[in-house]
């Protein structure tokens, strides 16, 4: 039999109906729902008198709008309405909901894996582009729009053309202080924000194999920033170990049977991809974005570029515009950019290992004068664990604000907004104009780099810092 990629295997397992000249009708195993992209879909169902086909394959939470202090007091009336609309809709259509009172609440892409809902081989969708996160488990997971949310609610399927396959292979060893975030930022920086358009990415190679599930999630999360709707990693022992014992994962003998099925999903030796990119891990350094898309980045020991460094006129114009927006001058060393805000959080980097990495840097130090620093755990469970491990106290003692879970300043739909003209070292995924607030100047970095920026008030090369173990 012809060797297959995991992408082809999952796809073929989910084709409900196939006909020439049409996309495939694909079955969806898990539909995650949040408050922002679902109300119009539920309204559509009501207008046509339609039902949710499989509430048991649907799971909802609220994350985008929720305040991270006094979470039950939502002062913004429009946001409050949207949250109560989700509560109403879940009640009406019998959809399980992790609401603000639930210990399971959190960012949808953090709680899916945490609860064991995310499993290898599943097709997973959500009205959110960072659904690609779940690909870390060897699931085919992608973001959809509200019309598609409605379609999945009503039919548990989607009409989809099979995308092309892109292998990104990262071999070698990562240097000290270089993290999963730096790897994905480096990939996007080198190959551009649309290298993955029309493709599903499979991340392979020694570096990925050696990564924890949380690191793989960081990588897959930002596949969409490379233009790919989905990015995934073939499952292995690391995947199975993570899932064992999770609330919604199979139990006992069922789990062992599932592991056998999951193991068979991994890409076969000799399978072919439509495109392959190879990266040597040793060439990757801690990264900082200087511009207004995630490809506009350089290593921490680099400088802000000149527009003339870029070949096309369109790029030069974009760089000029970005530098003006960011208030940066060409040739400025990255380590001389002052930082007034630090945000550690988001579906990219708000898991327990992210907080541990940041805490290592922060322990025993103080946030620099004039810097406001936030830690927003990805879920209430992460929050609880971080408190039990003493991480929360390390952050609080250093002068960080310690918050409840939610999307928070990644996109500023709740009150956590970065003021105009101020620079923010952020562990989130998008540095678009206005993303964190109108005129806010976002620099995407790893949790360790963000923590270091909080302590020093400017970017520093974490490779040069003396790290102190937390435990």
């Amino acid at each position: 039999m012809k060797p297959k990629t995991i992408i082809e295997k999952i796809w073929e397992n989910h084709v409900v109906y196939r006909e020439d000249g049409k996309p495939d009708l694909l079955y969806i195993d898990l539909h995650l729902v949040h408050e922002v992209t679902s109300p119009q879909a539920f309204e559509g169902l009501r207008q046509k008198g339609r039902k949710v086909r499989r509430p048991d394959l649907t799971f909802a939470t609220m994350d985008h709008n929720v305040p991270t202090v006094n979470r039950f007091v939502i002062e913004d009336e429009v946001a409050r309405n949207q949250i109560s609309a989700l509560e109403r809709n879940c009640r009406e259509f019998s959809i399980p909901l992790a609401d603000l009172h639930s210990e399971e609440q959190g960012i949808v892409h953090v709680i899916g894996p945490e609860l064991g809902l995310t499993q290898p081989g599943k097709t997973i969708v959500c009205g959110d582009s960072h659904t690609s996160t779940h690909g870390a488990f060897g699931a085919l997971a992608f973001g959809i729009g509200t019309s598609e949310v409605e379609h999945v609610l009503a039919t548990q399927t989607l009409w989809q053309h099979k995308p092309k396959t892109l292998q990104i292979r990262i071999d070698g060893k990562l240097g000290e202080g270089v993290t999963a975030k730096d790897v994905i930022l480096a990939i996007i920086g080198r190959y551009g924000v649309d290298v993955g358009t029309g493709y599903i990415i499979e991340f392979t190679g020694e570096v990925i194999r050696n990564m924890s599930m949380e690191e793989r999630m960081t990588i897959c999360n930002m596949s969409i920033e490379a233009g790919a709707r989905a990015g995934l990693v073939s499952p292995d022992e690391t995947t199975f170990a993570y899932l064992r014992g999770r609330k919604y994962a199979p139990k006992g003998e069922e789990f062992e049977k599932a592991v056998e099925r999951w193991r068979a999903l991994a890409t076969d030796e000799g399978a072919e991809y439509d495109k392959t990119i190879e990266i040597d891990a040793s060439t990757i350094a801690p990264m900082v974005t200087w511009g207004t898309n995630p490809a506009m980045s350089t290593s921490v020991d680099g400088t802000v570029p000149h527009p003339e460094d870029f070949s096309s006129e369109t790029e030069q114009k974009a760089v000029r515009r970005a530098l003006e927006y960011m208030g940066l001058k060409p040739s400025t060393p990255i380590t001389e950019i002052p930082v007034q805000h630090v945000f550690i959080g988001s579906c990219t980097n708000s898991r327990i290992s992210d907080l541990r990495e940041a805490a290592k840097i922060v322990k025993g130090k103080k946030v620099a004068k004039g810097v406001r620093a936030l830690v927003v755990p990805g879920s209430q469970q992460v929050k609880k664990q971080a408190e039990e491990e003493g991480l929360a106290q390390i952050f609080i003692d250093a002068g960080f604000e310690w918050r409840d879970s939610g999307c928070s300043a990644c996109l500023g739909m709740n009150p956590d907004i970065i003021p105009e003209g101020e620079h923010c070292a952020s562990t989130s995924n998008r540095n678009f104009e206005g993303r964190q607030g109108k005129g806010a100047r976002t620099h995407l970095v790893s949790p360790a780099m963000a923590a270091a920026a909080a302590i020093y008030g400017h970017f520093v090369d974490v490779r040069k810092l003396q790290k102190e173990p937390v435990h």
Partner: protein, 197 residues
Amino acid sequence: MKPFTVHKGKVAGIDRANIDTDQIIPKQFLKRIERTGFGKFLFYDWRYIDGEKPNPDFELNRPENEGATILVANENFGCGSSREHAPWALQDYGFQAIIAPSFADIFYNNCLKNGLLPIRLAKQDVEYLLRESTKADYELTISLEDQRVYDDNGFERTFDIDPYRKQLLLKGWDEIDLTFVYEPYIAEYEKKHCPLP
């Protein structure tokens, strides 16, 4: 969905690449639970100074672009967030088609679901249209049936579109109704792979 067949209209250009959906419709407007009324917030941060005064430098505020129904922009239009509020805002503002050398995948899909036609043309054709769009009375005609874009000066190009999506657009069909036709296949699949608990 309103059918899309032939459209003739005025062209506005924004010569930027990687226009993300955060620019098309900023997050503070995503809290509404309706599908309508997003047009006044389209390109909000670029379009207004301090949230009220129109920014005279922004392309859509130029007098020659008033009443435009076709938008031309550069590569990777609609990247970033999956928010369908982006096509809703473009459509509510009055746009019926977007032309660019490339689109982000999720945005492209979202447009098709709403009868807003995304058209991919070669980079040099887009450059030509961006130049022409600065003229006050420049118009294009788009025929979906024969997949053609043309102006009155002899410019004429064909474009690709998936035949299934094309049919849906031409007819203005509700995709969910159409999928219900395949319900027996879905039920069969579920019986085998995904039974009810």
